[in-house]
Subunit: 283 residues, 2 copies
């Protein structure tokens, strides 16, 4: 299975876990539990201990982990070293890793970014293709899965992605067509493509049209939990194979803790609740 | 001057140097001179020695250096540490640094990317705003200059950026309008804005319309030299203040060497030729 395409490994993991739960590793120092921070000699060490602890507490419920590259890069080279160890820890737990790096460049620079993603140990990466479709190919050639930004969950994404084209459809739908074309000859045994798309749960009104344009794409779906999207909003995004990977970060990483509850127990409880909620929609 | 806005420091540097020459630091290991590689114990050390040598050889002609983040990130955390030292070397030579990272994220992640850029010591950064205008603000709040990708020099950028909108104009022009709006209250004493734009020299047919939409923007202009654009193509991009920063990477980093010519002499010669060529158009 280790030699299988990314999309098939992801698909198999979702089937084995029984829910398309992706846990976003977005460590923000001010929100890391006091217990972890007092035991650490620096902020970047606290970030590492927190992420390793989250992985241990949640990996049985997780179909993927999604580290947010920015949260590590903010500490410079020391933070990138932590990202490498965190990714490696998730992979040894048998969980695929999507590096949320939103990279976008061309030619040799894109090939170098693909090398950089592989250096972290991640299986796949989020990619911004505003520069054009050729932004995407170097990652595929390096054996990585990709999720191209199509319709993002932030409120002001409309100012770019909802603009109507004279040829029909929106900017987001134009990007979706590029994604479908790029992914057409990258299909795995699951019937899905190594080229996926980011489609926010808070934009699920656009979901049916986007699923129509991208029938073979796994959708990486941010916006669940703290950003306001619920499991019911998922329905328009589904395809026959399921085809969604739903991410939550804040609601799992920073849950309310019961009195005397260990932080890892609270995180595990939040991950399990998300797992159950999503499993109900998928079945 | 150190406390001045980025755009004013850049503007003053261009005036002092007499030419809007930006030297792209895109070190590709296979192209680094043999003399540097044999003296280095690893690829990443060769990258460092090469970049420091290029800065020393060209800083008198350079209005800015533009390290390509991917070329350093490909070496993981060790590469990011080299980027930090290279950036610091350029800054100590008194030259502004544009980190070509093409980052694009929102909220706290964008704020963390801004921290990451500052951790490298760079003054400004290239930003991809496909996610929406709010992608840009965190960098400005951190005191950085930005260059937003509007019309990029790669051939297949047309597949995204040249699409016509039903409301008029292209996708690239829609992005230009966001840039102008974001930059309107970030003007320096030079009359130019801390919010600039990336406009490729190979797309200079679109240049006049883009300059009309973005009168106060510095244009970071890739595509000169190896990518085929010449100094004459610059004219439609100019504004009263000049308002362009023209980048070359390959043609300066990897020039043909005369017999027995030291590699740094060849690089200095290429930088000087570019400086002279661009100065003639600006005057």
């Amino acid at each position: 299975m280790d030699n299988a395409r990314f999309v098939d490994r992801l698909h198999a993991r979702i089937a084995a876990v029984g829910s398309p739960t992706c846990i976003g590793l977005d460590p923000v120092i001010e929100r890391i539990p006091e217990d972890v921070r007092t035991k650490s000699s620096s902020d970047v060490e606290a970030v590492e201990q927190f992420c390793l602890g989250v992985i241990d507490a949640t990996c049985e419920h997780a179909s993927a982990f999604k580290p947010q590259s920015a949260c590590f890069e903010r500490f410079g080279s020391a933070g990138v070293a932590v990202l490498e160890r965190v990714t490696s820890h998730a992979r040894s737990a048998g969980v695929p890793v999507v590096l949320d790096a939103k990279r976008g460049d061309i030619g040799i620079s894109a090939a170098h970014y693909a090398e950089a993603v592989k250096a972290t140990g991640a299986d796949s990466v989020t990619v911004n293709a505003y520069l054009g479709p050729s932004t995407v190919e170097p990652y595929l050639e390096a054996g990585l899965g990709v999720f191209v930004l199509v319709r993002t969950s932030n409120p002001d994404s409309d100012a770019v992605q909802s603009n109507e084209l004279s040829s029909g459809g929106t900017v987001g739908e134009m990007m979706a067509s590029h994604v479908a074309r790029l992914g057409a000859n990258r299909l795995g045994e699951s019937g899905m493509s190594d080229v996926g798309a980011v489609v926010g749960l808070t934009k699920s009104a656009d979901g049916e049209a986007l699923r129509g344009l991208m029938p073979r794409q796994y959708f990486l779906v941010p916006g669940y939990g703290a950003q306001g999207g619920g499991a019911e909003d998922l329905r328009p995004l589904l395809c026959e194979q399921g085809g969604v990977l739903v991410n939550a970060s804040r609601s799992v990483l920073y849950p309310e803790r019961g009195e005397n509850e260990r932080w890892q127990d609270a995180v595990a409880r939040a991950a399990k609740a998300m797992h159950t909620d999503l499993a109900s929609v998928m079945s």
